[in-house]
């Protein structure tokens, strides 16, 4: 416990870094997946290859990616950019499927009436298709956010890993406390992030909650 008390500043610093390294890729990944998914629903032959490519990228070991990226990007080995790019790749590779499925979940008659009432293509995407796709997209966001939070720790191997650095410290000194603190905090962080996403989804989709309720007849 004294270790924890003595190192509060460090722990707080690592926690912030951890959150930053996990969340920025989620946001970047979403910003990339949505247009990509939209293009894939307009040119439907693109959808399956994209989903397959996502599957392949997602199966790459994160360690390998962290190590290879500096060579590809020309970044320093100790740059946070490597982690952010790697996790963004994972985010896109997972989220692309949800974005495509979500956009496809818009019922044909809804899409047809959206066109017929006079929405232009982009307007329709933001006013009709994306809002209806929110539940499916958020299912992906939740998975990918939790996965990112756990994957950031792996970055500790190359020296930038948020709470993961507490693990390396603990192992090097053969001292358990930092490891326990790191594990507990990253689990809490994952739970908290998930909770925030669930809350956000509820705010964005008041309509989705009524679907389960039986229709109410009013004469």
């Amino acid at each position: 416990m004294t270790w924890t008390a003595d190192n509060l500043g460090l722990i707080w610093e690592q926690l912030r870094e951890h959150l930053y390294l996990a969340i920025v890729p989620v946001i970047l990944g979403l910003l990339i997946s949505v247009p990509l998914g939209y293009v894939a629903t307009r040119f439907s032959w693109l959808a399956n290859p994209l989903i397959a490519l996502g599957g392949v990228l997602y199966s790459l070991p994160s360690i390998a990616l962290f190590i290879v990226l500096p060579a590809i990007l020309g970044t320093k080995v100790l740059s946070t950019v490597n982690i952010i790019v790697a996790l963004t790749v994972y985010t896109v590779s997972l989220l692309i499927r949800n974005v495509i499925d979500g956009l496809r979940s818009v019922p044909a008659e809804v899409r047809q009436s959206a066109v017929a009432v006079g929405y232009g293509p982009l307007h329709r995407l933001f006013a009709v298709d994306l809002p209806i796709a929110v539940p499916v997209i958020f299912a992906g966001l939740r998975v990918v956010t939790v996965a990112n939070i756990s994957m950031v720790s792996v970055g500790a191997v190359i020296g930038i890993g948020g709470l993961g650095e507490l693990f390396t410290q603990g192992f090097q000194k053969d001292f358990l406390t930092p490891v326990v603190v790191g594990v507990v905090l990253s689990v809490l962080l994952a739970l908290l992030a998930d909770l925030v996403l669930v809350g956000l989804q509820r705010i964005l989709t008041p309509w989705a909650r009524v679907i389960a309720a039986p229709p109410v007849e009013v004469a």
Binding site: G118, V128, I211, A213, V218
Partner: protein, 332 residues
């Protein structure tokens, strides 16, 4: 007036959905496209708002070729109602109705007032305004669909089998309400159905299409029943077209006989049943002066005593008549 001139639609896979269709759809009336499944009704309808582009020929609205307009602008001026309504599941009922006024940039207050007024007009309880579509019955959703189509007061309304997914009783109600609404608003309505009864009931004019997208006959319903142009139309309007044709025969005034003592009336004079031994038999359909002979015959056929009951507008019984009287009216 909407005018089709030699309009053809061939889909990329080679299907000829509509074949050199020429047709004048008069303003302020209901024109029905009817025909067997796959005959090109939906395709013809959707070419009007350019959600499907024709392959050749021209379609014009009030003399102006629709291709001269931007499709999005064109669509905002044409109401569209489909089967299952196609409401936006993430918008409340009132926001669904407000869609087109919002797209047109009306101010908020006017948009909302218009939407509420329309909900009332199509017979929806205003308590439903803040609900989501999933919380409505199929019939209520369909009414919202009609209200949404009417919101920006378009001159033209396209309806593609709007009532075919609801049960027969609700369908009947919706049909009656559409006719009542149309008497007030006088829109140019193009209505698609595969149900010939619905076509005859709603249409001022009916276009019968045959598979392959060819127009078989374009005529008012009475003409269609009396003089089908060929075997296809004759077969399509059905074996009992003689009976259906009675819909268009309105007797001057059906002579009725005084009310018999077996007919039980309530305090207001409305018929409640026929007295028989120890029970009360239901009255069946009733007839009002001005109704068609089909209604008169129906009243006779559904009455347990073989006598139809004639009522006034308030539902008060005026007299009775039997099949001989109907037959007599038919001869004259």
């Amino acid at each position: 007036m909407i005018e089709f001139e030699d309009v053809t639609k061939r889909y990329p896979d080679g299907t000829l959905a509509v074949d050199t269709l020429s047709l004048r759809i008069p303003s302020g009336q209901i024109t029905v496209f009817v025909g067997p499944s796959g005959c090109g009704k939906t395709t013809s309808l959707r070419m009007i708002n350019r959600t499907i582009e024709r392959t050749s020929g021209t379609i014009s609205i009030d003399g102006e070729d629709i291709t001269s307009k931007d499709p999005v602008t064109l669509r905002r001026g044409i109401g569209y109602v489909i089967q299952h309504a196609g409401l936006f599941p993430h918008k409340t009922v009132v926001d669904n109705v407000a869609t087109v006024p919002k797209l047109l940039g009306w101010d908020k207050r006017k948009t909302r007032d218009t939407a509420m007024e329309l909900l009332e007009r199509v017979g929806l309880d205003l308590k439903l305004a803040e609900r989501y579509p999933a919380q409505l019955s199929g019939g209520q959703q369909q009414r919202v669909g009609v209200a949404r189509a009417l919101a920006a007061d378009p001159a033209i309304m396209l309806m593609d089998e709007p009532f075919s997914a609801v049960d027969p009783i609700v369908r009947h109600q919706l049909q009656e309400e559409l006719l009542r609404l149309q008497r007030d608003i006088g829109k140019t309505i193009v209505f698609v159905t595969h149900d010939i009864d619905e076509a005859i009931k709603l249409g001022d004019n009916v276009a019968v299409l045959r598979v392959g997208g060819k127009l078989a006959q374009f005529a008012p319903p009475s003409e269609l029943l009396a003089n089908p142009v060929d075997d296809f139309v004759r077969g399509f309007v059905g074996q009992d077209r003689g009976y259906r044709a009675l819909t268009f025969v309105h007797p001057q005034e059906l002579p009725v006989e005084p009310l018999p003592s077996e007919l039980v009336l309530d305090d207001s004079g409305a018929p409640v049943g026929w007295r028989a031994d120890h029970e009360l038999l239901p009255i069946g359909a009733v007839f009002k002066q001005g109704d068609s002979l089909r209604a008169a015959l129906d009243a006779v056929l559904t009455s347990p005593t073989g006598r139809g009951i004639c009522v006034d507008d308030s539902g008060k019984a005026l007299g009775v008549f039997d099949q001989a009287i109907v037959a007599e009216a038919l001869r004259s």
